[in-house]
Symmetry: C2
Subunit: 501 residues, 2 copies
Amino acid sequence: MAAIEEQIQSFREYVRRMIDYKSAIALLGWDARTKLPRKGVEARSQVIGTLSTEYFSMSTSNTMGDYLTTLLVHEQDLDPVLQRTIEVLKKDFDRMSKIQVDRYEKFIVLTNTAQTVWEEAKATNDFAMFEPYLASIVDFQKEFIGYWGYEGHPYNTLLDAFEPDMTVDILDQLFAGLRQDTVALLSEIEKAQPIDDTVLSRHFDVERQREFCQHVLRKIGYDLEAGRLDESGHPFATGIAPGDVRITTRFLADFLSTSIFGVIHESGHAMYEQAIGENLRSTPLHDGASMGIHESQSRFWENIVGRSYAFWQYFYGDLQKMFPEQLADITLDQFHRAINVAKPSLIRTEADELTYNLHIMIRYEIEKGLIDGSMAVHDLPQIWRSKMKEYLGIEPPNDAEGVLQDIHWSTGDFGYFPSYSLGNIYSAQLAHAMQKELPDFDAMIARGEFAPIATWLKQHIHQHGRLLTPKQLIEKATHEPSDAKYLVAYLNDKYRTVYGI
Amino acid sequence: MAAIEEQIQSFREYVRRMIDYKSAIALLGWDARTKLPRKGVEARSQVIGTLSTEYFSMSTSNTMGDYLTTLLVHEQDLDPVLQRTIEVLKKDFDRMSKIQVDRYEKFIVLTNTAQTVWEEAKATNDFAMFEPYLASIVDFQKEFIGYWGYEGHPYNTLLDAFEPDMTVDILDQLFAGLRQDTVALLSEIEKAQPIDDTVLSRHFDVERQREFCQHVLRKIGYDLEAGRLDESGHPFATGIAPGDVRITTRFLADFLSTSIFGVIHESGHAMYEQAIGENLRSTPLHDGASMGIHESQSRFWENIVGRSYAFWQYFYGDLQKMFPEQLADITLDQFHRAINVAKPSLIRTEADELTYNLHIMIRYEIEKGLIDGSMAVHDLPQIWRSKMKEYLGIEPPNDAEGVLQDIHWSTGDFGYFPSYSLGNIYSAQLAHAMQKELPDFDAMIARGEFAPIATWLKQHIHQHGRLLTPKQLIEKATHEPSDAKYLVAYLNDKYRTVYGI
């Protein structure tokens, strides 16, 4: 056992080094998006490339292979953190080992080029320019699936990379009811009296927006001594290390929602990582359990808490004090309705809470179709338009605002989109379970008491990091498998009240 | 030759990776000093440690040894950049190879602890607490010198680490005349009418200071698209990569000089690195030639340009517009004199341009004495006081403001201090050579034309990076060896005018 103890020690050290590389890469990325001077961009890409290559080498090296083989023999004797660390690393190792290095490198070169081509294609509204690249990327996905193998639908193995254990069968079921109900609810909303949300587009001084956002962050429990708020073109949250989880936002003088709800959203991601257990430090488990679980945290805070009536019962007075001229004539009720308008729109990232999932379903269906061969890349613009028409009742006037709008396909991230809606589904289910244990939920929020919510989330989700799978987390926290009915009920409840229908 | 071409290619790639690590380490360090949240400090140290270890391993690896051996055989066939790259890396390799790993690790552990102890010793004014650590560090220096060997004085090999080719003989000679003249000039100044510099301690709005500093930076030629200005407790400049050379400063509402002259000083460092030749990219030559040459650039801009009458002929109007109330009653002459007060003081980092070198000489003499055994660590407080009395005419009331004031000895940086004064000596000599080629020097500055100065510096110093040694740079640029007489003449000229003596 002495030899194995040494192996474990050496493995821990090896993994710690990998995580340190990841931390450096995260900082290099954060800086590139928030602080990096223009002329430093080229050199920065090279540095990130060098460290990423090293990280990748370490995770697929013979050394790693030997560690995994040796330690798996003794798996039963290892503590749960070590067991799960090995499991998580082995999954990456196996996946990568099945792809020949030259094929993987070709894929990386392709996606790097494809991103640039996509940017130009989007800017010039020219799908034909992007089409051959997308076709090659889809071919690569199919090739990789061939190496990896799959059960059921070939798309399952792509899903699994972002949301472990998720399958087309489960997703189809989750989405079916959600889609039907959303479309029905949306058509009722469209018949109701429209809500005036022009107040959100009045002029709001950016410095004051910043101040208000900091105030909200402090109150809801984002630890500014273990993170910071900066600005970037596309807001994001990034966990650089334990005690250093940063968020960014964008301040628009003529649209208040961008900063406030962006900040609450990103802080949801960040509070998750800030609360991961110390026992997972310097392991790959000091991370979110999956993209879907991560998104459930940001959506929970942004929508279920941040757009609730109770939240603004507490904060609206402060906001009015900050912007007395802009908000003097707007009641709490009016404000709450303004931030909860639901309306079909073309761009996913600007969509409201209700219609957002329809945007995701379109992408999910297209990805499935491309992977199982029932759709061709060439037909996507037309497929896109007809699905938009079917689900949202509107059609993009051009491909830039249609099939070309998202970066994901150019980077080869097939299987990612469903995570966004899974986040919504999980968030409502978690909220339902939480409210059973915290029946005072709304009243607490209205009093500005967020600590019990943070404690519940920490206990059931955050502290576990990636020690448990998404499925285990949801089932332990809510005592049942994922179910979209809670999201359906929440959306109905909210929008029927907001629109008086 | 095909095999050697391949070796060269592979060596270049290896070195490029090393430089990428260095760039990541530089960013991690910059961030730690400017942006890092408090709770992220511990994890950050670990990440920096991991990458530094990797960098160190690469520079002392068998792979590096093999490259150097193989390529040195073909040295004559290599281009000058490659030749010098090999020379520079071989110097580090040889130095490190001569120290056994366990001794080096012990030294690193010692200095890490010693820094903490030093901080506490300084805070509590307790030299005895620091004494045993300093004694051990001195012993290590002597041990290392034993491995490295030396010619002439044992201190020479320590000097050489910071200022290649510099020796005790040369330094003693440079310092002797400078000390004598400085002490004499200082005693004349002390008899002259004192200058009123209280204007600098009026209240200056920090935002406006920032704006003015940005204005100065733009005018003198610091490229803000290849760098940025941030705030930190101790101002510094750091070259993160080509196109990314950042500076920091400190803004004090009740002392104007800190930000303005700090910013000009750091931009001198930064403009140096911003102008290093593209041909040196991704090699260790994309760096300053030495600490002394680096300091010559910051001192040149801060003192010779930034504290000149001509500089304020151009900028004082702008400064007055920025601070009309504070400066309405102060003429250009009065302002120029206020920023050029010379007065003995206790703390090196706060010393003026004239007395600064005396602080350095005290440290230099002590370091020499400790290394050659003519002084004992135990006696340093007393030695410090008597030298302060002799050179500056004042004595510190305690060791915190005396022998304990600097961090350098706790980090084991023996041989570093002289670089600061070498910077002053070089800067005056370079200015003298420059003024022969740009006879319009003062008038140009008074007109706000800084480009010819930047061009001269780029041509003679900056572009060469570390391709040439300090000695080569100075002799090529000024057509003679380093000589302190230019600094002496400059100081006399300036202070006799300022004080009317």
